[in-house]
Symmetry: C2
């Protein structure tokens, strides 16, 4: 059976990137690699909309998240964590592993955090050293209002704005410098449309300053050491060279398309997916602020969301995603990021219709597809 | 110019592995990937000669080394570290980053540690919780006597034998279970002939038992969590799927060759390289126990080893390695591990002869090549 990958990470990798990574291996200390890394450094600044250094780590995004705690906070420091899903929980767990005390803003799954809550928490406790949040919470399909939160955090001289943008960077607008985001993490296997294995982290001067006294242990994820190496077009330890070769190719393709065009494409695809799902009577899981990265759809009453996920895979060869933890069986999720275009949406919508029909859900085949086509036809 | 990679990591990747990784991406929670991971798990046990779980981490070998400290030792614990080169130093630095007190056995670069020194140190201080060493010290080209050291460490119930086998595993015999090695780390970019980005760590029951009370922070490199995931044919966080697909192919090729045949091949190639170098008047840097992974050769008196390295690259397209730190300019290094065979040695030796001739070193071209051919002709 022909296979289609529409999961919210890893996402599809283009033939161009796959081929670039199939070239013979470069040595990580060779001049050819140094000049490639210099180009990638510049292109990552373009992607992150920043003048900051963007570090490149041989790990998945979670490694970048861990480093964003261990390099900037000491045991006993306090962090404010937005917990509106599985990846919000991950910030809590990392902080806890590193002895960082957390003040948690628990956001009901499906909702976005309110900036006013952040403001109130920071006013109540001026010892908070960092606000940790997701730009896009992959488990719920919700985008948190990063720009508005950052505006509040900027008023606090000793508090960092730390953003998990793993499934957001390269999907919708994240203006690292203009919005004053201090630490921004992404991973290779989402919008960048690469295999998993790279984390990228942008770090502001404010973060370097506050991190200078941070006392948590770190070795593999030692950002200061990575920064020094990067200034010489190297990485501190052996670079994941083939993934970085793929990153170079992926960024080249994104630059050719143009960043605003990438955002517009993903936005349109996500919009079409959402409207198509609604047109066949399904509810989106997000109650507000749906993310353009991934569309989380509720299974109809009396139907098992996990079955939708399974039938998509088994009957039609489509790997989407089910729900995680408390959402298992309640939702299924379809990615709209990376190497995707018009007919990925058409495929996804048609397959969902066919799966639901097969499960006995009443719908007229083609309804959602038609709605998606209408939207995708528009310039 | 045609390029040749003969560095001690990353090493050459075979076309078969490159192609396997260029296939469309598998999702890390898909059943197809789970069954692949199950096979890889079994094959890694074969490679490590162990019944232990072998964890697979999305990081380079250094991440596996960090986890081998943070998962088994607490701040204030004492470790005995064999420091006979750059990677011995790395153990010291990781221990220091994690508050582990170190007793250092400083071994002059070019020499192997004496098991008697280990024995004396452990007798002097029964509070030592782990012995940390390299199986092959890549910076000097020396192999430490792992088997003999392990025999001593086994007598100490509360002391672990931790081996950095990053550039040894799959090159020469490392019998994890038979020798009683508690923690053994390797990486993808050496004998396994994959791009960098995977660490693999074998962990004994003794290590799990002693690690149960270890109190250092860890999150990304949480071995207990990885073990639980691995039992379900998953990884704790997103797996580096394309590298694991390549690992599957690489292990398949090694199994077809047979482990003893792999060792014999690398041993013969290394022997031929060493004898060829000696035949043109060069000295090997190791004064004893040369490793079959990498041949470290001293530049002749009055000649710059860094120039040999550079000329190999610039004039002949060959990426070998120079010397690191105190050996910079004094040695050059050629790898004998991974996807290498007879004519990689012939190429390396011929190129070294041509480079040295070009630098004014007196030699008769073909001398070393002839010596290598003699050895490589033998069954």
């Amino acid at each position: 059976m022909k296979r289609y990958l529409l999961a919210p990470g890893p996402t599809q990798v283009s033939p161009e990137v796959l081929l670039s990574m199939a070239a013979p291996i470069l040595h990580h200390r060779a001049p050819e690699f140094a000049s490639l890394l210099e180009r990638v450094k510049a292109d990552l600044k373009w992607l992150f909309q920043t003048q900051n250094d963007v570090l490149i780590l041989a790990s998945t995004g979670t490694g970048g998240m861990e480093g964003s705690v261990s390099n900037f906070l000491s045991p006993g420091d306090k962090a404010l964590v937005v917990n509106g899903g599985k990846f919000g929980e991950r910030w809590l767990r990392i902080c806890s592993a590193y002895g960082v005390k957390t003040e948690e803003i628990k956001v009901e799954w499906g909702f976005a955090v309110s900036p006013a809550q952040i403001q109130a928490a920071l006013q109540r406790d001026p010892t908070i050293r960092g606000v940790f949040t997701q730009a896009s919470e992959t488990s719920t399909g919700v985008a948190h209002p990063i720009r508005e939160i950052a505006e509040i955090v900027r008023q606090h001289e000793d508090c960092l704005m730390v953003v998990d943008a793993v499934s957001a960077m390269g999907v919708f607008d994240i203006q690292t410098d203009a919005w004053g985001l201090d630490v921004v993490v992404t991973g290779s296997q989402k919008a960048l449309a690469l295999p998993p294995g790279l984390a990228m982290v942008s770090i502001s001067e404010k973060a370097w300053r506050l991190g200078a006294t941070a006392k948590n242990p770190r070795f593999y994820f030692n950002f200061k050491k990575e920064r020094e190496s990067l200034s010489k077009n190297q990485t501190a330890y052996t670079a994941a060279v083939s993934l970085i070769v793929g990153l170079d190719q992926s960024l080249k393709m994104m630059k050719e398309e143009g960043l605003q065009n990438v955002f517009a494409r993903c936005g349109k695809l996500a919009h079409a997916t959402r409207e198509a799902m609604k047109s066949i009577g399904l509810k989106l899981f997000p109650k507000e602020c749906p993310s353009d990265s991934v569309t989380a759809v509720e299974a109809p009453d009396g139907f098992d969301g996990q079955q939708v996920y399974k039938d998509l895979r088994v009957k039609y060869g489509i790997t989407a995603a089910g729900g995680q933890d408390q959402l298992k069986g309640k939702v299924f999720r379809i990615a709209n990021m990376g190497y995707v275009d018009t007919f990925d949406v058409i495929t996804a919508v048609a397959a969902v219709e066919m799966v639901l029909k097969g499960m006995g859900y009443p719908l007229k085949l083609g309804t959602g597809v038609g709605v998606a086509q209408e939207i995708l036809l528009k310039k």
